[in-house]
């Protein structure tokens, strides 16, 4: 509240008890209660395990997918799909559907294709409206009359399903967890993993946590632990002055705790050098899905210029498409298309003319552009604005506030934010402004095998904490799979006592900021860390900048970060997030140093190693902490089809899936 007199500050509204210990025992401890974590906990509980979920936010709405979902990827086992998981994985290996190109992960992609639809049927059973049960879209070409399923993007291949009531998906999952007796710890931030004997590299036997409202300490003892927290967002970006915490495109709660605590415990990480290849706008972005657009959730809306002149859609060969319907169909001979930038020819979707930037510069199209919803066929218009924007993450509120202000998609064209012409090459447009060195991490994370087990015994991973993690459906599929594997493990896992020394050391680390009243606050620390990432680990890097960055981070750790204060449990949590970000920043810089080549897929521009993706670097670089030193290793990008694994996806899945 802006009118609070800070000189007469009020007492903290929650009872504060820094350091007070709470012990919780679990069979399966799930760190993070978002999409992956909720599916994991529900599936563990369904198998009779005592499941405990820990989340920094309120599980009823937490996680990157906590504010909704509008389309469900990879659901190729649905009865209308034209593709099998085998065909999907073949296509995906050639394209962005593996999410990280040639460095993508075949395990999670195959699990997605095998289980995405099952996960969707799960959430439907838990009360989420998936199909067009009210027949609102009867007769639409994206709707199957028999099953009432509705599809997005490719209306021929039908592998991506529109979720008609996805805005409330987390509430339904929360209810199901409650029904099954999952113990939920809201507003508890996990801070470290506990290992057998307190030794890094040992079996993981639980975790510690801090309550972000009371400051109490939690000791979670578990036979198996599943990390499902998101990777760090907003490492390069911090300015609440611009648009608040929404400045990071991803969930601001994702500060990388899972990554950092797995690292500290000695788990192997990979691909941490990967950053977003696209300009990420941070504080300059518009609300996600909130400006006129033609791709992603807005696919395939007609766009016009300031004078109402329509911007043509073309197929992958550049042929102008005459009807709206053609934008949703494969060209003859094409098996399927995916929507995304820079796709290989065989998977390329129709798109706006690729030379739009050039034609804007020449004056052929006059800015600003508009999304011409009124000209779209009624079902498509309603699907884009009423269904997709109405249910996608963070955009139900966009639907509601725009409608409240009088926006009428039947009559009104939503404006696109004005960008430099070359930025119209990228989409979505709401996210493509801002300084180029402001990056976003993405793709790197914990290494795992066909059991979704990490390199540490007792530690599993699901969702975007795992390297090359994916979307909502991918996180859901991984969550249910990881739960099966973890439950199988706990059948034979022995009890292990926690190491008291490890707990005392963590308490000392965690509570240091509340012992101080002077120094710097968390916001300045975080902005300072972001500056180091921008300068020394930005769009272009070399050995000198990266070593300089590591020097700065280490120096900040010894100096300013050791003098940061926290005046209440909320500030303490934000401060601990800064420590996490510092650690993740160090991992990213070390990973970047150890890939001595540039890479398109990884968004890595090494000025001192300019050759892009040379064949000898087509490998995963792995890092782990061993005896306080960083041990660098390498793995084949398709390690999951190499010995000791079987050579086909199907065989590996059958052997490991636990079904």
């Amino acid at each position: 509240m802006s009118n609070i007199d800070l000189n007469r500050s009020m007492d903290w509204p929650y009872p504060v008890a820094y350091g007070k210990e709470n012990e919780v025992e679990a069979d399966i401890l799930v760190l993070g209660g978002g999409v992956a974590g909720s599916h994991a906990a529900i599936n563990a509980a369904k198998r009779g395990a005592k499941a405990v979920v820990v989340d920094k936010g309120a599980v009823i709405r937490s996680g990157g997918g906590g504010a909704g979902v509008d389309h469900w990827h990879g659901a190729c086992t649905n009865p209308c799909s034209k593709l099998t998981p085998e065909e999907m994985i073949e296509l995906a290996l050639h394209g962005e559907y593996l999410l990280n190109w040639e460095f993508g992960n075949g395990i999670t992609s195959y699990i997605l294709f095998k289980e995405s639809y099952d996960a969707l049927l799960d959430v439907e059973r838990w009360g989420v409206k998936v199909r067009d049960v009210d027949d609102e879209f009867k007769g639409a070409e994206f709707r199957d009359e028999k099953t009432k399923l509705m599809f997005a993007y490719d209306y021929d291949a039908r592998h991506c399903i529109r979720v008609s009531g996805g805005a409330g998906i987390k509430v339904a999952m929360h209810n199901e967890m409650k029904r099954l007796g999952v113990q939920i710890y809201d507003y508890v931030m996990a801070t470290s993993l506990l290992t057998e004997g307190g030794k890094p590299g040992g079996r993981v036997i639980g975790a510690t946590g801090v309550n972000t409202r009371t400051g109490e300490f939690y000791i979670f003892k578990a036979k198996a632990t599943i990390i499902t927290t998101g990777p760090a967002t907003g490492l390069w970006i911090f300015s609440t002055e611009l648009i608040g915490a929404a400045a990071s495109h991803g969930d601001p709660n994702n500060s990388g705790e899972g990554t950092a605590m797995a690292w500290q415990a000695g788990a192997e990480l990979t691909m941490m050098e990967k950053v977003s290849p696209m300009p990420v706008s941070g504080g300059f972005a518009y609300p996600m899905y909130g400006t006129g657009n033609a791709h992603n959730t807005w696919y395939a809306c007609t766009m016009v210029d300031a004078n109402g002149k329509e911007i043509p859609w073309v197929d992958r060969d550049g042929k102008v498409l005459k009807t709206v319907s053609e934008r949703y169909h494969d060209v003859p001979g094409q098996k399927a298309f995916f929507n995304g930038p820079n796709l290989p020819y065989e998977l390329r979707s129709p798109s706006l003319i690729p030379d739009l930037p050039e034609r804007i510069r020449k004056g052929e199209y006059v800015l600003p552009l508009y999304a011409d919803l009124p000209s779209m066929p009624a079902h498509e218009r309603r699907a884009i604005w009423g269904l997709m924007v109405g249910n996608e993450g963070k955009s139900r509120i966009i639907y509601n506030t725009y409608q409240q202000a009088g926006f009428d998609p039947d009559k009104d064209m939503l404006q696109t934010n004005v960008l430099p012409p070359d930025r119209y090459f990228f989409y979505p447009y709401w996210n493509t402004m801002g300084p180029r060195q402001w990056r976003e991490g993405g793709g790197g994370g914990i290494f795992f095998d066909w059991d979704l087990k990490t390199s540490l015994e007792g530690l599993y991973v699901a969702g975007t904490s795992g390297y090359a993690g994916g979307n909502h459906a991918g996180s859901a599929s991984m969550g249910r799979y990881a739960a099966r594997k973890a439950v199988a493990y706990v059948q034979t896992a022995r009890e292990a006592p926690v190491n008291q020394e490890q707990i005392e050391k963590e308490k000392e680390r965690v509570y240091a900021p509340v012992t101080r009243t002077k120094g710097i606050g968390w916001k300045e620390l975080r902005a300072g860390l972001a500056r180091i990432m921008q300068d020394y680990c930005g769009e272009y890097k070399n050995e000198e900048t990266l070593n300089m960055g590591l020097r700065w981070l280490n120096s900040i750790r010894e100096s300013e970060a050791s003098r940061v204060y926290a005046r209440n449990p909320h500030e303490l949590a934000r401060t601990l997030e800064c420590f996490t970000r510092l650690t993740v920043g160090e991992i990213i810089m070390n990973a970047s140093l150890n890939r001595k080549a540039s890479s398109k897929a990884l968004g890595l521009n090494r000025l001192d190693h300019p050759e892009i993706d040379p064949p000898e670097w087509k490998k995963l670089v792995t890092l782990k902490l061993e005896n306080e030193d960083i041990k660098v290793g390498a793995r084949p990008v398709d390690y999951y089809l190499q010995p000791p694994n079987a050579s086909t996806y199907e065989e590996n899945y059958r052997h490991h899936c636990g079904l």
């Binding site: 509240m1 802006s2 906590g66 009531g165 609440t240 608040g244 309603r382 963070k394 009088g406 009104d412």
Partner: protein
């Protein structure tokens, strides 16, 4: 004209992500407990509207608005630098959220 002035810190940015109608709010604190980033704190006085303590940490997810049991008691507003406009195709009239004399609300609910 008021002549009283105060020494206070500058207003936070964004100023106020959400607005609570004190007449409608029952002080149930549902919004406090669904907020993902703990933007709101319960009012020390029971039954009073919660305090929007950390608007600078709002993700603009809208969960507080969606879960509020009293329609209209909470309104979320994207900050001024987060607003885009729209043009009525037939007339060319230009509108935006926050404008003076806004058009009437469009009451059609979303799908789902």
């Amino acid at each position: 004209m008021y002549s009283k002035a105060y020494m206070v810190p500058n207003p936070m940015t964004p100023n106020q992500a959400i607005f609570i109608d004190e007449k409608l709010c029952t002080g149930c604190n549902t919004c406090v407990d669904v907020c993902r980033t703990d933007v709101l704190l319960p009012n020390p006085e029971k039954g009073k509207p919660p305090i929007v303590m950390y608007p600078d940490e709002c993700w603009f997810g809208g969960c507080c608005v969606e879960h509020c049991p009293v329609p209209g008691a909470i309104r979320m507003e994207h900050p001024l630098n987060q607003r885009i406009g729209w043009k009525r195709k037939e007339t060319g009239d230009y509108f935006r959220i926050g404008m003076k004399n806004p058009p009437p609300p469009n009451t059609r609910p979303p799908v789902g």
